[in-house]
């Protein structure tokens, strides 16, 4: 042994001195920092005007986070956002649809004829790839262009931490970390982003709970499915003046159900596999800041709307191609799609859905965004429709889709209110998209937790849909 470690002696001295102070030293140090900073601040800060703003902030906070009004106001705001989205997106959606489909598709076909392209090629490219992309564009762009800026404005204002504050008590009771409310909010944009954001939770146990339940936040890709089902099936039942209010109500209800599942699954996990202490944290309510409206519009259109839309289009192109192919390649007298749909049919019936929906969810594993277009294409492809409707479509081709027509097509495909409700439930409760699964794997580095995060929502979706279907049938609603 040469010279001892230079710090050894020092550490011994420190340890013996520490005995004299005990735990009080930390408090004492903190106190002197506080006193000193108060002294400095009082010298440098003076009040010129009245304190109107600060007290206004406080009053607003008292209302927004109050025990009685907090939740109703939250609901009302959420409702308002969806109502604006649904009511506002209708007109531009149908305009885009008639531009790209009614006007664009026939002209593309004419061009293909002019170039003497073979029918299989023009069918594959125009009826498969192009129409799928056009559909995604017209169905998704308008609602997203309304929803994302509104959501971003709420975020900039400082409302989201208030939501987290309101939900904190519930999460605490579920044995989860209060910050999970924030990661859940992130999940409403994108589950993959939500999973990454769980890094703000320090305890590994609580972080895993947050990861496993993030899929119950409805992501960008799933809003369009909910909004469409809410609009054409549930909203359509209400009198015309109320339909968009009812439609947005059904979307809000699904969203709340997701929060309920988040809490319930968290509670179960924290009492079984992931047992342990709940840790405390302090959540700061940031001041309300007047949002920079133009900047917000710009970033939410660029960062969110266009990125999500781009992803959807990129995914829609191959999905459209796949659907066109399985709809047009025939084996033993029926198309591959028809075979698959009838094979999945019994399971679909059990779940109150149908074979088409299940097949669409398999095709759409890479991205939830393309569920609705896939369902429509497959419905036209693989089910026998009335002549009047079938005349509008050849196998695997999506044509002009006004909301009313969509309703007509789906009803012809055997859809009922139960199918629509269960599709909304299944949109909430199914496996995360492949990007999210990959992100979970990257964050947990565990096959077991990745599998759990994938299978828990899927199993719940199966159970919930099956029970709903059984109850609805037993009560004779369908």
């Amino acid at each position: 042994m040469a010279s001892p470690h230079p710090g050894t002696q020092l550490l011994q001295t420190a340890a013996s001195l520490r005995g004299e102070f005990g735990a009080e030293l930390n408090d004492r140090l903190m106190e002197s920092y506080l006193e000193e900073s108060a002294r400095i601040a009082s010298g440098a800060v003076s009040r010129t005007g009245q304190r109107a703003r600060l007290s206004l902030d406080r009053t607003v906070d008292r209302i927004l986070t109050s025990r009685t009004l907090g939740f109703p106001l939250m609901l009302l705001l959420l409702w308002g956002v969806f109502w604006l989205t649904i009511a506002g997106a209708n007109v531009p959606s149908s305009m885009l649809a008639s531009l790209t489909m009614d006007w664009g598709a026939p002209r593309l076909h004419a061009l293909a004829d002019l170039l003497q392209a073979p029918a299989w090629l023009s069918g594959f490219l125009i009826d498969g790839v192009y129409l799928a992309m056009a559909w995604v564009l017209s169905v998704m762009l308008p609602p997203m262009a309304i929803f994302f800026p509104l959501f971003t404005l709420l975020e900039d204002l400082g409302y989201l931490p208030r939501v987290a504050f309101n939900l904190d008590r519930l999460f605490q009771r579920a044995g989860a970390h209060g910050k999970q409310a924030l990661t859940m909010m992130m999940g409403y944009g994108c589950n993959a982003a939500g999973v990454v954001s769980t890094r703000i939770i320090d305890s590994p146990r609580e972080r895993l709970i947050a990861i496993l339940t993030n899929n119950f936040s409805i992501c960008n890709g799933r809003w369009p499915t909910l909004i469409l089902m809410g609009t054409i099936f549930i909203g359509a039942m209400a009198p015309a003046g109320l339909s968009s209010v009812i439609a947005s109500g059904s979307v809000v209800a699904t969203c709340l159900l997701g929060i309920a599942f988040t809490l319930a699954v968290s509670a179960v996990l924290s009492r079984t596999w992931l047992r342990g202490e709940a840790s405390t944290f302090s959540l700061e309510l940031p001041p309300y800041r007047p949002p920079r409206v133009l900047q917000t519009l710009y970033t939410s259109v660029i960062d969110r709307t266009l990125i999500v839309l781009g992803r959807a289009m990129v995914m829609a192109a191959p999905a459209g191609a796949v659907i066109w192919l399985i709809g047009n390649i025939h084996i033993g007298g029926a198309s591959i799609a028809a075979h698959l749909v009838s094979a999945l049919g019994p399971l679909g019936w059990l779940m109150g859905l149908n074979g088409v929906i299940l097949l669409a969810y398999i095709v759409a594993i890479p991205a939830n965004e393309i569920i609705v277009p896939s369902i429509l294409m497959l419905t036209l492809t693989a089910t026998s429709l009335e002549p009047s409707l079938a005349g509008m479509a050849s196998p695997g081709v999506m044509v002009e889709f006004e909301d009313a027509t969509v309703h007509q097509v789906l009803t012809a495909g055997g859809w009922t209110m139960l199918t629509a409700v269960n599709l909304m439930l299944f949109a909430l409760l199914h496996n995360p998209c492949s990007t999210t699964i990959l992100t979970i794997w990257k964050e947990t580095k565990s096959l077991r937790w990745t599998a759990a995060a994938t299978l828990i929502p899927l199993a719940l979706g199966f159970a919930v849909c099956t029970v709903t279907a059984a109850v609805a049938r037993a009560l004779g609603w369908v």
């Binding site: 102070f21 440098a44 009040r47 010129t48 700061e284």
Partner: protein, 284 residues
Amino acid sequence: MSPETQTAPAVPSESKCATCPVHNASELRRLGVNMDRWDFVVALMGNPNTGKSTVFNALTGLRQHVGNWVGKTVSRAEGGFRLAETNYKLVDLPGTYSLVSSSHHEEVARDFLLFGQPDVTVVVVDATRLERNLILVLQVLEITGRVVVALNLMDEARRHGLEVDARDLTRQLGVPVVPMSARRGEGIRELLQAIDEVAKGRFVPRPRRLDHQDPRLEAALRRILPEIEAAFPHLPNARWVALRLLDGDHSIIRAIEEGSLGDIDRMAAKALPDLRARELTEEN
């Protein structure tokens, strides 16, 4: 330490224009993440939700998402800018309220300050919540004096009827305090100038060190300080290390056991003559 050491003394002899702060700041080139070499490392710290990311974006031209909520910056982000012939690397650290407790965020921030040895540390503070924000500033000043305080959200303070005297703060803290409103782009120029001055040693900080006014604590410090100075003679923040040791700070104890504090000491020994030389040329 860097090629900068040779160029800095030459600056004052150039034309007046080149040393004029306005000229320098207007030369700002945002480098985004495209930088492979740098002369100075600048750390960006602050309480959560004070606008660190906005400042970061304004300096680097990057577009990190800025959200009005706490805990948004999960891991540290890096970017660069070039100003007055000098490349700066900017490291955005997660927001923390203090440096003395044990949350993951605080450890990331503190370890970078201690072991990353940034040339300048910018502490972004919320002018509307000065009292609480200064706690972090005081703690940072105990570790390093090479600090610039960015007094952000001045626009909000004005709206709230608060007047914050930046000059008084500069005097009290002993480091430059720059009033600004990052999201309106106000004060960015002045901040850059202050960073440049501290980095190049033109501003000699006299950081306010806390007197804990506790005879028992002072007695303990008197016993332990000589031992720290004997083991690590070049450490710039022996008093802070002493306090952390008395407080039983695990990561500091680990740093001594593993020798990383010894590494800092050796680095400081090499850097010191360098710094002195620079300060001498400034005085001439």
